[in-house]
C-alpha cells in the first residue's frame, strides 16, 4: 500500500472522528443549553451505558452452540458481585476471569 494513501486516509479518519466528538460543543458554544438539552444531558448517559452492554455482546452467536452461555455467565457474575460488594474493580476482574475460563477450558 502506498504511504501517501495511508497518510491521507489517517488524516481524513482523524478529522472525521474528531468532528463527531466536537459537534455538540460547537452547537452550544454561545447559547445556553435549553431545559430539553439539559434533560438529555442528565438522562442519556444511563441509556448509553446500558446500550453499550448490548453493543459489546452484538457479535455473540446466540443461535448455535455454545449459545452465548459464557457471556451470560460473565454478565451475571459482574452484576451479582457488584450488587453485593460494590467494588468495580473486583466485579470486572472476577467476571473477566470467569469468562476467560469458560471460553478457553469449557467451550
Amino acid at each position: 500500500m502506498e504511504s501517501s494513501y495511508l497518510i491521507g486516509a489517517i488524516i481524513v479518519a482523524s478529522i472525521a472522528t474528531y468532528t463527531t466528538r466536537i459537534i455538540p460543543f460547537l452547537l452550544f458554544r454561545t447559547r445556553e443549553p435549553s431545559p430539553l438539552v439539559k434533560y438529555i444531558e442528565l438522562n442519556m448517559p444511563l441509556m448509553i451505558m446500558v446500550i453499550l452492554v448490548f453493543y459489546a455482546l452484538k457479535d455473540v452467536t446466540w443461535e448455535i452452540y455454545p449459545y452465548g452461555i459464557a457471556e451470560i455467565i460473565g454478565v451475571i457474575v459482574a452484576i451479582a458481585l457488584h450488587v453485593k460488594f460494590k467494588n468495580a474493580l473486583l466485579s470486572i476482574f472476577v467476571a473477566t476471569l470467569v469468562y476467560m475460563f469458560f471460553i478457553q477450558k469449557i467451550f
Binding site: 479518519a13 472522528t17 474493580l89
Partner: protein, 224 residues
C-alpha cells in the same frame, strides 16, 4: 485524587485496550502495513471500532473520501457522548480539546461515572484520557510488532470492557433520579442486538433511545 487512585479507575480499560489494541495491530501487520502506521493511527484517530473499520477499508482499497464518510458515520454515536459532557467541560481551559478528542466509549464511561472533586476535575480527566490512550497505543504497537509470536493465551480478556459497561450501568442507575430510562434502554438494547445489523447497531439504538427519551419526556418523569 493521587495518581494511583486515578490509575486504579482506568485498570478495566487497561485490561480491555491492551488486548484489543493488539488485535488491531496484528490485523494491521497481516495487511503488510508497517507497524508505525499502527502508532500513527492510535495517536491521531484513537477510535477502537473506527480503526478496525479503516483497516477493512484499506484492504478493499476504498477511496479516501469513502474512508472519511464511513468513519464519520460509525463514530456519530460520540456526538451523544459530547452532548452529555457540555456542562462538565464548560469551564475547562483549551486543554478540553484533548478531552473531546479522546472521548471514546470507554473514556466517556469513566469520566461520566468517576467522582472527582470540582477543583481538580480537569486535571484528573486529562490523566484518565491520556492513560487510556497510552494503553491503546501500547497495545496496537505491540500487536503490530509481535502479535503473532506472543505465547500467552489472552483469549476472552476483552470481556473486561463488557463487564466495565455492566458495572457502570449499575452505578449510573443508582445515581439516576429517573429509573424508567434504564428499563427503556434495556429493551432497546436487547431488540437492537437481535434486529439491527451489527455494524449499525449502536448508532441506531442510540437514536431510538434519544427519540424515546425526548418524545416521552413527560411519562419518563412521572412516577419515577
Amino acid at each position: 485524587m493521587n495518581f494511583f487512585a486515578i490509575f486504579k479507575l482506568t485498570i478495566p480499560v487497561l485490561m480491555g485496550y491492551i488486548p484489543l489494541g493488539m488485535a488491531f495491530g496484528l490485523l494491521l501487520s497481516k495487511l503488510l502495513i508497517p507497524w508505525y502506521y499502527a502508532l500513527f493511527m492510535s495517536i491521531f484517530i484513537f477510535a477502537g471500532s473506527g480503526q478496525f473499520l479503516a483497516l477493512t477499508l484499506f484492504a478493499s482499497q476504498a477511496t479516501i473520501l469513502e474512508i472519511g464518510i464511513a468513519t464519520f458515520l460509525l463514530n456519530l454515536r460520540h456526538t451523544f457522548y459530547g452532548l452529555s459532557m457540555i456542562s462538565t467541560f464548560k469551564d475547562f481551559s483549551w486543554k478540553k480539546h484533548y478531552l473531546i478528542f479522546g472521548l471514546t466509549d470507554e473514556t466517556f464511561a469513566l469520566l461520566k461515572t468517576s467522582e472527582v472533586p470540582q477543583i481538580n476535575r480537569e486535571k484528573v480527566y486529562l490523566i484518565i484520557t491520556a492513560l487510556n490512550q497510552c494503553y491503546w497505543i501500547i497495545g496496537s504497537v505491540v500487536g503490530a510488532m509481535l502479535g503473532n509470536i506472543l505465547p500467552f493465551n489472552y483469549e476472552g480478556i476483552e470481556f473486561s470492557l463488557t463487564a466495565l459497561f455492566v458495572v457502570l450501568s449499575i452505578e449510573l442507575y443508582k445515581k439516576s433520579r429517573l429509573h424508567k430510562p434504564f428499563f427503556v434502554a434495556l429493551i432497546i438494547g436487547l431488540f437492537g442486538m437481535f434486529l439491527f445489523p451489527p455494524q449499525k447497531m449502536l448508532i441506531l439504538s442510540l437514536c431510538v433511545a434519544a427519540f424515546v427519551l425526548i418524545v416521552f419526556k413527560r411519562s419518563m418523569e412521572s412516577g419515577k
